[in-house]
């Protein structure tokens, strides 16, 4: 469970840092009146949806950390046989990076109010993300052709399970991206679109990071 504990330690550091800004040692019974500045609650100015996404990412991060922990624990047992890594996975990694970059570009274009470019960037991000999923499926088939199936040995079981789980999260993200594409086409409600872009981009970067960690894990073992 080392990986999980490490991940949780990271979260704990964030939590402690945040709590340390919340005057946890103050004596509330001595303080009356509207505390401090206007809002006076320690509520951050970060958009509420972004905070929500942050919390969600912590939970998803916990999920992947636990899978990785399980992976390491299972790996130590005698029957572990490494799976070959299709070269295609490198290409998929690149495609997912492109997808993230496209969203970055969309954000930059949105800052300059270039709606047309935002549309193109969003479509690009969506297309590359779909391409990534397709690439993963092809990689599965390549492994299958090479005789590595889900039940062949624990390493391949983990490979299929973890990539599937990651892929599902990408698909979930695509649903959100779809909404933003519609929003970009309708051209209304640009502040909402801007926020949506930020959220998508954050989520994409997170999934890219997760994929890099998982891919690194597969390469190392």
């Amino acid at each position: 469970m080392g990986v999980t504990i490490l991940f949780f330690t990271g979260l704990a550091v964030i939590a402690v840092w945040w709590l340390s800004t919340q005057r946890l040692t103050s004596k509330p019974w001595l303080e009356q009146g509207p505390a401090g500045e206007p809002t006076g609650t320690g509520v951050s100015s970060v958009p509420i949806a972004k905070v929500g996404l942050g919390v969600l990412l912590a939970a998803i991060g916990s999920l992947f950390a636990l899978f990785i922990s399980a992976y390491f624990m299972r790996m130590q047992l005698a029957d572990w046989r490494p799976v070959p890594k299709p070269t295609l996975l490198w290409i998929n990694t690149g495609v997912l990076m492109l997808s993230s970059a496209a969203l970055q570009w969309a954000q930059a274009m949105a800052d300059r109010d270039k709606v047309r470019s935002v549309r193109i960037a969003l479509l690009g991000a969506g297309a590359t993300a779909l391409l990534f999923i397709a690439g993963q499926v092809v990689a599965w088939r390549q492994l299958g052709d090479a005789g590595y199936f889900l039940t062949s040995n624990p390493a391949s079981s983990f490979f299929f399970l973890i990539t599937a789980l990651h892929g599902l999260h990408v698909l979930g993200g695509l649903a959100a991206l779809g909404r933003n594409i519609i929003r970009a086409w309708q051209g209304r409600d640009l502040p909402k679109l801007r926020l949506g872009l930020d959220l998508c981009s954050l989520y994409w970067d997170f999934l890219l990071l997760m994929w890099l960690v998982l891919f690194g894990l597969l390469l190392l073992s």
Binding site: L24, W29, S62, L63, L150, G173, K192, Y203
Partner: protein, 585 residues
């Protein structure tokens, strides 16, 4: 999930005015597909209580079998295992977790922090319907061939997915599926609870002004969001092992004389994942109870909670520590025995912040003005049972003392006392306490007294003597002990006594349910703040509060939640939204 997060208004609910959102247009959107956290809370609570009633009946059947083995012909060893498994899982996950977080969390968080609603109401609604689906899938397992799983609520592989264990055909699959659905649904709700506390607080509501109820529910939700994934991972991997034939947890083995295809997996890996969820789960149930009982004691003893800061720090400390004690459930699991030193130490350290909380509850009573209302009575009962259960936890946490006691009735008695009886007492106290806010009427006092006395004395009479069955060496999960050299005949008398107490306590819960519905119509009108409490939920302009909670203007918070009997004040309480120049000399 993300999808909805993006679509939502980027304004904090605390700052939102009377927006369209708070006006449902039809009966369906008001009471069925409602996005009002208070309605969702009631939906969660009623569903949890309904499924809890099933678990209660199952416990009657198991108790009957233990006292009078063989007298009910339909209870065979398989049935018995199915009863205890479903009883355990329903009570821990589908009742306690859902009721504390989905029920009390939804009702109290927006009201107590001064928000109009949860941060993501649509997601909140989805959370309930997903939870309902999980419950239905679970219930469905009673009707499939082979029945529900009888693997024990811990679902340890390999036996949970092999012939020889009831429900290995379909029951286990539905159980795992239901858990996975529950976790997805919970995550949607959990995001709301956390974000609403983070971003939805009214002006002036600093963290250190929050009632301990909110601290407890908030910390518990954070634990749940991080710990439930462990169960998710375990459930998904076991589902793969069962359905697709992978070997994550399955070693090579001979089942019923037949060599199976499995090989190389580790059953202990599952136990690590299960308890990495399972131990925080104890605190997911306990922390809201800690928080709520603090507020009950303070309000009904008319005194500020003693040592508020220590109480907050203790909640946070317990939350953090709860992630590094999981393997104390596995001292005799065959894991590396050297882990025992670490986990015994962390487990006993967690006793210290927990003890501080107990002292502070009792010290709040000290020099108070104790009104022995039903909520206060239940709070006192909580203190007794929680202290009892917490102290027996020191037996089981201290690795070497655990060895003779683990897997015996001592463990059953311990965890029922500490995470069954004690939190349930808080739930009862809380229902008597907040029922007037939810309905505008008081629960019937006389029925409440009856309910309290039978439940309190009865529950103690069930679980205190049960520890001694464990000391005798009686193992758990036996439908009958049969002949042994070490259990005297007289132990059966104790079993009969426990069963009679259990059936009595069970029966009186029906009185409570009756009270819940009877008082809805015939209860005494309560007014907006019958307990003269300080916290915001009692200060709403209307009772029950309508969608949006606060009418035209949001409350502003001027003080902490515990200004009872402030020297010089006219009244014996100062609501949190009372400006400072009022009432103080």
């Amino acid at each position: 999930m993300v999808d909805t997060a993006i679509g939502r208004e980027p304004i904090a609910p605390a700052e939102a005015g009377e927006v369209e959102l708070y006006h449902p247009h039809s009966w369906i959107t008001k009471y069925v597909f409602s996005q009002d956290a208070k309605i969702i809370a009631i939906q969660y609570s009623l569903t949890a209580m309904a499924i809890g009633l099933v678990a209660l009946v199952l416990s009657w059947l198991t108790r009957w079998q233990l006292a009078f083995p063989g007298t009910l012909s339909f209870i065979d060893p398989s049935q018995y295992l199915q009863y205890i498994t479903m009883h355990g899982m329903i009570m821990v996950v589908y009742l306690l977790t859902a009721l504390f977080l989905g029920g009390f969390g939804n009702y109290l968080i927006p009201l107590m922090v001064g928000a109009r609603d949860m941060a993501f109401p649509y997601l909140n609604m989805l959370s309930y319907w997903t939870y309902l689906l999980a419950v239905l899938v679970l219930v469905a397992s009673f009707f499939v061939p082979g029945g529900p799983t009888g693997a024990g609520w811990t679902l340890y592989p390999p036996q949970s997915i092999l012939p020889g264990t009831p429900g290995y055909e379909w029951g286990i699959i539905l159980m795992l599926a239901s858990l996975i659905i529950f976790i997805i649904g919970f995550t949607m709700g959990g995001l709301n609870y956390v974000v609403t506390v983070l971003q939805g607080r009214a002006r002036g509501m600093t963290l250190m002004r929050m009632p301990l109820t909110i601290w407890g529910i908030f910390t518990a939700t954070v634990l749940a969001l991080l710990a439930f994934p462990a169960l998710f991972v375990g459930a998904v991997m076991m589902l793969f092992d069962r359905v697709l034939g992978t070997s994550f947890f399955m070693p090579s083995l001979v089942s019923m004389g037949e060599q199976l295809q499995y090989g190389g997996g580790s059953p202990i890996l599952f136990q690590h994942l299960f308890w990495f969820f399972g131990h925080p789960e104890v605190y997911i149930v306990a922390l809201p109870a800690f928080g709520i009982v603090s507020d009950l004691i303070s309000t009904h003893a008319r005194r500020n909670i003693f040592g508020y800061r220590m109480m907050v720090w203790a909640i946070v400390a317990i939350g953090v520590l709860s992630f590094v004690v999981w393997a104390h459930h596995m001292y005799v699991s065959g894991m590396n025995p050297w882990f025992g030193f670490f986990f015994a130490t962390t487990t006993l350290i967690i006793a210290i912040p927990t003890a501080i909380k107990v002292y502070n509850w009792v010290l709040t009573l000290w020099h108070g003005d104790i009104h022995l209302t039903i909520p206060m009575l239940f709070a006192l009962a909580f203190i007794v049972t929680f202290v009892n259960g917490g102290l027996t936890g020191l037996f089981l946490g201290n690795v070497v003392v655990d060895v003779p006691l683990s897997d015996t009735m001592f463990v059953v008695a311990h965890f029922h006392m500490v995470m069954g009886v004690a939190p349930i007492f808080v739930i009862f106290g809380a229902l008597y306490h907040w029922y007037p806010k939810v309905t505008g009427r008081m629960l019937n006092e006389w029925l409440g007294q009856l309910h309290f006395w039978v439940t309190f004395i009865g529950a103690y009479a069930i679980f205190f003597p049960m520890h001694y069955l464990g000391l005798l060496g009686m193992p758990r999960r036996y439908h009958e002990i049969g002949q042994t050299s070490f259990v005297p005949e007289s132990a059966q008398n104790l079993n009969v006594f426990i069963t009679i107490a259990a059936l009595t306590v069970g029966a009186v819960q029906l009185v409570f349910l009756f009270n819940l519905f009877w008082s809805l119509r015939y209860g005494r009108a309560s007014g907006g703040n019958p307990w003269r409490a300080t916290t915001l939920e009692w200060q709403t302009p209307e009772t029950p509060p309508p969608h949006g909670n606060w009418g035209k203007e949001l409350p502003v918070v001027y003080r902490w939640a515990y200004d009872y009997n402030v020297p010089g004040a006219k009244e014996d309480f100062l609501p949190q939204n009372q400006p400072p120049d009022w009432g103080t000399g």
